[in-house]
Point group: C2
Chain length 545, copies 2
């Protein structure tokens, strides 16, 4: 059996290795148009910034290793330019010699990846405007910075790569500005969750321009610097531009071969990663996969799913019944001293799909607050109000963020509910958690909301005319900063001051993060008031400002 | 409704607070024989060692806070000495005045906790022999160290508290020796998993005596130092002894009241935490609970389950249907620069219960190995060989250990299988994980074993006469250190050297950690050999030495 694989990074390399482990007899050839296979794409920003000092570190497996350990042939700088489905052949162009040859396949696996988007803006092809996707990309950026003694960088697009590069370019001493079209950085998150990240970027000296788009680029005469022009008329002079506005699946080859392309623009595959051609599979960033939470088709350019898809395709090619279970969008991004991670659906998506959901905010410490180093996280969990099924979660903090999102990722995979989180048993010693872990808390607060023990309200829905807002913190906290229109009745005085509160209006209580508000709401509810707790307290309110 | 609660630490305090949140009308009184309620027991070793500088940090909630926020009365230094079930009364002794009084209840909650075991050894009551369970205990130890200028400590018992205290006393400059009766420290783990912890303790200057028991203590004339005598005849001079040989549930009150006591010596309760008396509930370290993996009754002295039980009891008292789901023994211990964590059943327990299980070992890096700071973990996962249900996991390492065990804790709670771990989607950026996370790897290796793709063998079962052992690492690695009796055929030469391997014997291959062994086993299996991979490679072999 002759298995040809187009693209030798995450998905393709995983598929090739898996095929060999399942079959000693298969002939396996990987065609890679770039100069490397199996490299650590996710390490590129840290190689640019010097955190990863050697380029060689990024090379997970060399062609020589593929050959000697796995008897897999790797052909570098060979681009597959055409698929002849009728003949089960591909046409391969040697990018060094320009020669073409034809290769026959029994099974073909497409792992072409995705291409960084370069909008056709004026000046887009000027020297000094980069994207970052490959080792040569990283090398060029490093060289440019050294040779030009670059002092300033403009990053277009505040997604994961944009923010990782903001940190790494800052580490190299560059003054970084980020231009982002949306009203927030990190689009997989909801905007109120990343306001802290935006503030943190500013603290670290990064200028963040939201709701701002690039109109074009101009070359400045003196020294090759670039002028970035925005649609609102801002002009920025810079030594380097990084475009990180997103990726599009590289479907050219598949499309030209007449394979089905999905609505989102990715290659259509079934659960075994098979395309519309029985002999052709596709994996990785170029394919559309099902989101297990929303059941929608989606594009997700992440290494983990790509690797798993590669394995599934290998299984399928060799007649196994393995199926890809879909994706849930678990992702993480370190931004200077903070980490942002998420899993499952965000609120924006659920709103767009008109799916019913409820949410709660919390701000727990990552470990016992009595132990040194405790720091607060911003945590949001989204769930089905009917049965408590977890739909998604987002968390930002200094430490322990990855742990909580991985736990919830596992929970979502198993269709767990917030009631399961309430009862979950996690590691507790003061360095690592608390007797009630943040994940437990998220389940408890959500369960209180669903059971009606403590209904929640959300800041974005507050209608001052129809409600009474009570700040249940201490007078000192209230005086320092409070929400306009809120009356102060400290929770510890509430039982004695119930007569001050109207019974004919909805009472919204809030505190610092939601705990005292919970106590206050319980007192009010049991005394016949209609009360709700403003989820996340004033901390979430401030995140929304 | 009058609800009396005996014991005001984790379970009792949680129960009281929950009752109040559910009922403004209930009269709630907590009786606590000690001087504090709701303190952070788990922080005591770090208070002794100075990591937590102020005693006040350990106090989670004061009686004053209970009163003003929750309208809960806390009576300190009041010991409940008798339950009169017929009259629904308790007799309470004021430990300061000696006076007794009777208090009527509608519902009684027992949260008496557990008592550190003090074996009746000669000299056990000498000054300078401590246990650590309460704030006064910690204060006494600190004072003793200061006043006596203690330089040496002997810790009897190498469990969680023993090891945490070894670290903290070492931090204070004491030379620490640990005496442990079993052949390992940290009894919730299997012995081969903690050999690295034992080595690490030695590196940090702690002497560890395994399979050694204390025979008695003698006072040394000069300066009040203590001589510890062991059963094997060792004599150790020390300035301080910490007994940390375990806890027994404090069931005196319950037993004298005629409540049912279980086989493990704890108070018997149903899923609603109700004892054999309809008006009496019990929670925390004193009760027997069901282990969700083994279905056995067990004692588990941990704060997380105690808190959850307190909530369940409160719900039950107020007529709610909440049920305690049982425990799975998720626990963690930091030992100097290493962390050990586990969840679910260990191998010792499964063996004792004659439950069928399989296991695999792995030694993955906690994050991408190309990113600085990567360090290897010792990871073991135990599963049902019939259907892959996860039964337990143990992990030791420098970083990321808590995360992996929390994820698997969640998986076990949801009855997940190793196949679920294979397909799980976790956070990946190079600081936090890898495209294939250690948890994914554990699932993949286990799945390979179950599916027969790569059957595993274990070092403890190797029978040299019946098998051929092949070390598939490089000659350099082999020469440096190999397992006696193993022949060296590097994996990359294996395809060419198959003729050197007998077809009529079982072939056991091993490498460094198991990955090359996997490749080698696949090559052999597909070429008609009977081959197994020695799980965890030479690293696991060395852990067993």
């Amino acid at each position: 059996m002759r298995i040809l694989i187009v693209g030798g990074v995450a998905g393709g390399a995983s598929c090739a290795a898996r095929v060999r482990r399942l079959s000693e007899d298969a002939e396996i050839v990987i065609f890679e148009r770039g100069p490397y296979v199996s490299f650590a794409n996710c390490g590129l920003p840290y190689y640019v910034g010097g955190e990863i000092p050697e380029e060689g570190k990024l090379l997970v497996a060399s062609p020589a290793l593929f050959k000697k350990r796995m008897n897999i042939e790797v052909r570098l700088k060979q681009e597959v330019v055409r698929i002849d489905r009728a003949k089960s052949e591909i046409e391969v162009k040697d990018l060094e010699t320009g020669n073409s040859l034809h290769e026959r396949y029994d099974a073909l696996v497409l792992s072409p990846g995705a291409i960084p988007i370069r909008s056709p803006l004026p000046g887009i092809d000027l020297a000094g405007i980069f994207t970052l996707r490959t080792i040569p990309d990283a090398r060029e950026i490093k060289l440019w910075i050294q040779q030009r003694k670059a002092k300033r960088a403009v990053i277009v697009g505040g997604g994961f790569i944009g923010l990782e590069m903001a940190e790494n370019l800052t580490a190299l001493g560059l003054k970084v500005s980020i231009i982002e079209m949306q009203n927030q950085v990190l689009p997989p998150f909801d905007p109120e969750m990343v306001s802290g990240i935006q503030g943190h970027l500013k603290e670290k000296g990064v200028d963040v321009y939201l709701k701002e788009a690039v109109a074009g680029f101009e070359e400045k005469s003196s020294g090759g610097a670039i002028r970035v022009l925005t649609k609102s008329g801002v002009k920025m002079e810079t030594d380097l531009v990084l475009l990180s506005i997103g990726l599009r699946p590289d479907v050219k080859l598949a499309q030209e071969a007449g394979l089905m392309i999905g609505k989102r623009g990715g290659i259509e595959v079934d659960q075994q990663m098979r395309t519309s051609d029985l002999k052709i599979w596709a994996v990785g960033d170029a394919v559309e996969v099902e989101d297990i939470v929303t059941k929608e088709k989606t594009l997700l350019a992440l290494a983990g799913p790509a690797n798993r898809q590669g394995r599934i395709a290998a299984d399928a090619i060799l007649g196994r019944a393995s199926k890809f279970r879909g994706v849930q969008g678990t992702a993480i991004c370190k931004v200077f001293d903070l980490t942002a991670a998420c899993t499952g659906a965000n609120e924006k998506t659920l709103m767009r799909l008109s799916k019913p959901y409820e949410k709660v905010y919390l701000h727990p410490f990552q470990h016992a607050s009595y132990y040194p180093g405790a720091s607060q996280m911003n945590f949001k969990i989204i769930f089905d109000p009917a049965d408590g099924t977890i739909l998604g979660a987002q968390c930002i903090g200094a430490e322990g963020v990855d742990k909580r999102m991985d736990v919830i990722a596992m929970a979502i995979q198993k269709h767990a509910t917030i009631f399961d989180l309430e009862e979950a048993e996690f590691c507790y010693s003061p360095q690592f958690g608390a007797a009630k872990d943040p994940v437990n808390f998220s389940g408890m607060i959500a369960a209180n909301a669903i059971r009606g023990d403590c209904p929640v309200a959300h800041w974005e829905n507050v209608k001052p005319a129809e409600t009474v807002m009570i700040d249940v913190r201490t007078p000192e906290e209230y005086l320092k900063r409070h929400v306009p229109g809120a009356k102060n009745i400290p929770v510890d005085e509430l039982r004695k001051r119930l007569s001050e509160i109207p019974k004919d209006k909805e009472i919204l209580v809030y505190c610092g993060v939601g705990l005292r508000g919970y106590y206050a709401a319980r007192i009010l509810l049991q005394n016949g008031f209609t009360a709700k707790n403003l989820s996340g307290g004033i901390k979430t309110y401030l995140n929304r400002q």
